[in-house]
Amino acid sequence: MLRYVIKRLLLMIPTLFGAAVLIFLLMRTIPGDICYLRLAAGGGSVVQDVLDNCRRELGLDQPMLTQFITFIKGLVTFDFGNSMWTNRPIMEEIGLRFELSLQVAIMATLTAILIAIPLGTISAVKQNTWIDYFVRTFTIAGIAMPSFWLGILIILTILITSKAWFGVAWMPPIRYVPLWEDPWYNLSMLIWPALATGYRYSAVATRMTRSALLEVLREDYVRTARAKGLYEKLVINRHALRNALLPVVTVVGIEFAFLMGGLVVTEQVFNLNGLGKLFVESVLNHDYQMTQILVMMVVAIFAFTNFVVDIIYAWLDPRIRYSR
């Protein structure tokens, strides 16, 4: 197992390097100039020497190879530098946003798991009954409905119903306060995006749970367990569900990593100051340094999540032996 863990960790290095090369080159193919955007796009003119000076300060006058080596050196030494747009340390810019994105991702994942596993299990066990049909409709709606659209509906519903019931239109807070500072305020802001994204997330996981469980329920060992006279609850929970969860864990892992940087539109709907919003802004602003670091961070999160998922596989299915 230890050898496997080390091997997997080492394999992350070429993945991260490949991503670094790719994002470095891609950012430089987008037409536009951060200096012009920063100094003149708000309306106004800027003289060439000011632009040249700005490019010099940002290191954009250096040859591409030099810029790339500086970038890689920064990654290796964990010196991520400053945002080219705000000229503030990238870690400072990411800090608060990371915390928020992580909380939303955890809350959405919990929402999804709490919905998906019971619903998927019931749906499989009660296959082709009205319960199964209901769950399938519920999940198809979840997959079909974009999270941001559901988010808009949630906000409008809250505004309209609060006005109708209490006479005052209430909407969720639009600025983030950490959980430990004011739990009620924090949850009253984040519960809604967690529900909006958790619903879609749970729909995918529910369908995966259902199909995996249906497959497992037809396995010989389940038939054997039933033939032994075990309680049905025990057969489902101990023998069938645990084995059916392998693909579900994969889906949950991928979705979790996606939530850390991919909630671009949903974040804007709820005014979440998260990583997705920062991502889009940094691309639009041509903030190469920030975009590169964010991409590398998301790649690292994906790689790490996959790594954790593989470890969970081993725990769920003792037949898997990675050391071979």
Partner: protein
């Protein structure tokens, strides 16, 4: 459907009635206390007002600073009325209009307790007019008339001009000209990019990256009794839908930039008397610019045809229902004494009231130029208000004159990359200014201007601009402005005005003392604003 329209009209009438009551409301005794929450569409790249050009800096940062002079916060709609902020009175120029002497208020203090003297004002304007190497000054070009700035004693600051200029006072009143501390600038000329320390009505409190900036009341503010608010919270909210909902759900009282008519109507319908709407012509305009270096737009006949095909008078009232544009105008902010009146406008190509006649002339010009079936691409910003809406309207106008146009809307970065490289046929761009200062604002139309993308040279136009800026005789300025305007829009057809923007600010009715101005850069120090809850 009719009853809905009826209700909406009634609600609108109610809201405007409330807006109409704004004047008596302002006469009420301001109440002290409260935190004003407002939404801002973007976060500023830095805190340095001298460097930046975006309203995203002004809205959250202006309340921390004083300026030398400013548009009257009690009457910001009057684009020619300026008052002192830290000076005692507006000076009368001496030396044939070439010397302006400002006396500073006594006992001015920065938020850190240090004295604010003329040395600080001098250091501030030195940095703006003659920035040291490595420092960007966005409005340096507006002060070409300034010969020297001196501080003969701690309470006096003197501006000496090379020639009398009507553009000087409006330029001086820019809301971006924050007064900085000389000590801080001496310590690090770039200190103000990342830090805030001024002498304005509010002291810097908190900045949360990408989320908010807050300020708290400065008790030693030089306008006694002000500010009325205990503090403010500027919340960054990128999407317009969210900003509208934030006001509806009372998470914010106002957004200072402006909403489209539909959002105003939605808020009025939802909140009734709890919302007040203020509206004004806006010192921003969408300009369509042909690339003179690209065929067939190197032919003045083709360029003129583009303007002749557009029915501004017919389009304005309809576009005003869906977009933040409304007023037909020339190159000068409508309503300003230097702006063209309707009878003067109608003499210009594309401003005639008989659109069929104009379009027939456009077709004739295109035929003469040998491009009867003209096709081109309109480069535009992928921003719906008002860019893509006006772009789509223009395409329809051109189609009616037999011109086929495709719109290519791109994000701001690639859009400007195209414009700067000259890789476009015709572009829809903007001219958005703060203090209404026509003599400076129209420099945008010069071939030599840094933000002129038409790629042409016109020495005669440059000469006209210089003459206009070197006379203090308003009648002469006006005459020269008409000639300048005719050359830009008609004779040489360098750039064309589509429609002037229209600023609509629906805000919570408990917000008092704030008055709309022709610019979203003005009126954001918040010292006269109060909350009546």
């Amino acid at each position: 459907m009719k009853w809905k329209t009826g209700i909406l009209s009634l609600s609108l009438a109610a809201a405007f009635a409330v807006a109409g009551l704004a004047a008596p409301a302002a006469a009420q005794t301001p109440k002290k206390g409260g935190i004003l929450k407002f939404v801002v569409p973007d976060e500023p790249p830095s805190f340095d007002g001298h460097r930046e050009t975006t309203f995203a800096l002004i809205h959250p940062i202006a309340p921390f600073y004083s300026v030398l002079i400013r548009p009257d916060p009690q009457d910001p709609a009057d684009s020619s009325k300026f008052v002192c902020d830290i000076c005692t009175e507006m000076p009368t120029p001496t030396d044939d209009g070439k010397t302006y002497t400002f006396k500073l208020l006594p006992g001015l203090k920065f938020h850190d307790g240090s004295d604010l003297t003329s040395k600080d004002v001098l250091a501030t304007f030195d940095r703006i007019i003659n920035p040291p190497e490595g420092i960007s000054s966005a409005r340096k070009a507006e002060f070409t008339m300034v010969e020297s700035v001196t501080a003969p004693d701690p309470s006096t600051i003197v501006f000496k001009l090379k020639y009398p200029s009507g553009a000087f006072i409006p330029s001086l009143a820019s809301p971006f000209h924050f007064i900085y501390s000389k000590a801080k600038l001496d310590q690090d000329p770039r200190w103000y990019e990342k830090n805030v320390m001024g002498s304005g009505p509010f002291m810097f409190d908190v900045r949360e990256a990408g989320a908010r900036i807050t300020g708290k009341r400065y008790p030693n503010y030089h306008h006694k009794g002000q500010p009325y608010l205990d503090g403010f919270e500027a919340i960054f909210a990128k999407t317009q839908t969210l900003r509208v909902q934030a006001i509806r759900g009372d998470q914010a009282a106002i957004e200072f930039r402006g909403f489209p008519p539909k959002s105003r109507d939605d808020l009025v319908a939802a909140l009734g008397k709890d919302i007040t709407v203020q509206e004004s012509d806006w010192n921003c305009v969408l300009i369509f610019t042909p690339n003179h270096e690209r065929k067939p737009f190197n032919d003045v006949r083709v360029r003129r045809a583009l303007s002749l095909a557009v029915d501004r008078w017919g389009g304005a009232p309809n576009l005003a229902k869906i977009a933040i544009v409304k007023t037909v105008g020339g190159i000068v902010f409508p309503g300003h004494p230097l702006a063209a009146k309707k009878e003067e406008l109608t003499q210009l190509a594309g401003y005639g009231t008989d659109i069929e006649k104009s379009r027939a002339e456009a077709r004739k010009l295109l035929k003469e130029a040998g491009v009867e079936n003209l096709k081109f691409t309109l480069a535009n910003r992928a921003v719906d208000q008002p860019y893509t809406i006006v772009g789509t309207w223009l395409i329809d106008q051109w189609k009616r004159a037999g011109i086929e146009v495709e719109q290519k809307a791109e994000a701001t970065g690639p859009f400007y990359a195209q414009l700067r490289s000259g890789n476009f046929d015709v572009a829809l761009e903007f001219n958005c200014k703060s203090v209404v200062n026509p003599l400076a604002d129209v420099s945008k139309f010069l071939g030599s201007a840094g933000d002129q993308y038409g790629r042409f040279k016109d020495p005669a136009l440059e000469e006209m601009h210089q003459k206009m800026n070197r006379t203090s005789d308003v009648a002469e300025q006006r005459r020269l402005m008409r000639a300048y305007e005719k050359r830009v829009l008609d004779e040489e057809a360098h750039n064309f005005i589509s429609l002037w923007w229209y600023r609509i600010i629906p805000h919570r009715s408990y917000l008092k003392g704030w008055k709309i101005s022709p610019s979203h850069y003005i009126g954001n120090q918040l010292d006269v604003v109060w909350i009546d809850k």
